[in-house]
Symmetry: C2
Subunit: 213 residues, 2 copies
């Protein structure tokens, strides 16, 4: 089993676009980061519930499909779940409606834990104030032999990378220069050491870079 | 004719490694940036004068060969020529010995111009305090229909990019995380706008990204 991270970043390393708002929680530049990922058939089917079969089927789609394969549990930060955008809503159930695309146990890291939320499709959000390393260890147990994803957001992923917890890091690099926002690579010198790195260019122009160990 | 830039950068966008010293003028991390470029047959022949034919001959070498093709004049900053490392040596003739690899007129930007230096192989260093845009315009004249290179260092390249002077930007992205040093992309939001971007992965793992207009 492996601990996996997948992120969409710009060529200048921005993974968290600037100026998120409750109305635009991913930031104004988000579309420029994920345009090719959201165009894939897998993303449209899995996240949008589009059963028409529309969407791209090339290299980007292969990575999108792999994203969802073999994951037995996930860890995410409070912001990714939406707790920073809606801190005072005790009934907030995440951004994803009644069918969150995870379908596995998800540990949401927050200093203000709340009751778990279960969905019919297998998604179960548990809230915990434990440290990233403890959360990943517990997710390994929950995953029962399958892989663990550290889903995001950026600060949670960077904490996992800094702690050496990540076995496979895949970044989809879109060749745009955002020039603002949170950067993935800051203050992680030598992160590549101990990993094998392989890259591949998709038909869309996105460069998929994978660090494995 | 086109104004061209070629740079070696890390995955985190570092083009100018930290802590250059007179003894190690390119910084301690330089080797990690340029290792695959320096391994090419073209670089070995053209810069080291290695006539044995040794070196790699794949995609990296194709870019290395293209680097030297079709250039009629070059513009570089004072630091790249060495004036910041040896400011008080009036006889300093650059890092490259008696056969600088340029073989064309080179405008060196400095606030303290000195007399031109000519070499038998066609390289001629001229020193000028003009602005980057004026220097590039004059280099166009000197190039006589061939391309102009803005060779470096980083601050000179960034000034040319910010001024919209560059027609073709090729970056050889080595998948290492340096985490310190001067970054190419900072404060250039939307730089990709107006360019077509194409990427290609070399056998070495270096990702070659080219912005063209």
């Amino acid at each position: 089993m492996a601990v996996r991270v997948d992120l969409n970043i710009s060529l200048d390393g921005v993974a968290a676009p600037a100026d998120p708002t409750p109305e635009n929680p991913m930031g104004a530049d988000w579309g420029r980061l994920v345009e090719d990922y959201m165009a894939t058939r897998t993303f449209r089917a899995r996240v949008f519930g589009d059963a028409s079969g529309a969407g791209t089927t090339g290299i980007d789609d292969r990575y999108a499909a792999a994203y969802f394969e073999g994951i037995g549990a996930e860890v995410m930060g409070a912001a990714m779940f939406g707790l920073h955008s809606f801190p005072d809503d005790p009934d907030w159930r995440g951004w994803w409606g009644d069918e969150p695309p995870f379908r596995v146990p998800v540990i949401v890291l927050t200093h203000r834990p709340r009751e778990p939320i279960s969905f019919a499709n297998g998604t179960r959000f548990e809230f915990s104030s434990e440290a990233i390393s403890a959360a990943v260890a517990r997710a390994r147990d929950l995953a029962d032999g399958a892989d663990v994803r550290v889903g995001g957001g950026l600060s949670t992923v960077r904490a996992a990378l800094a702690a050496g917890l990540v076995d496979r890091l895949h970044v989809a690099v879109r060749p745009v220069i955002l020039g603002r926002g949170g950067r993935l690579w800051d203050d992680l010198p030598g992160l590549d050491t101990g990993y094998t790195v392989a890259s591949e260019v998709a038909e869309s122009g996105v460069v998929h870079v994978t660090f494995s160990r």
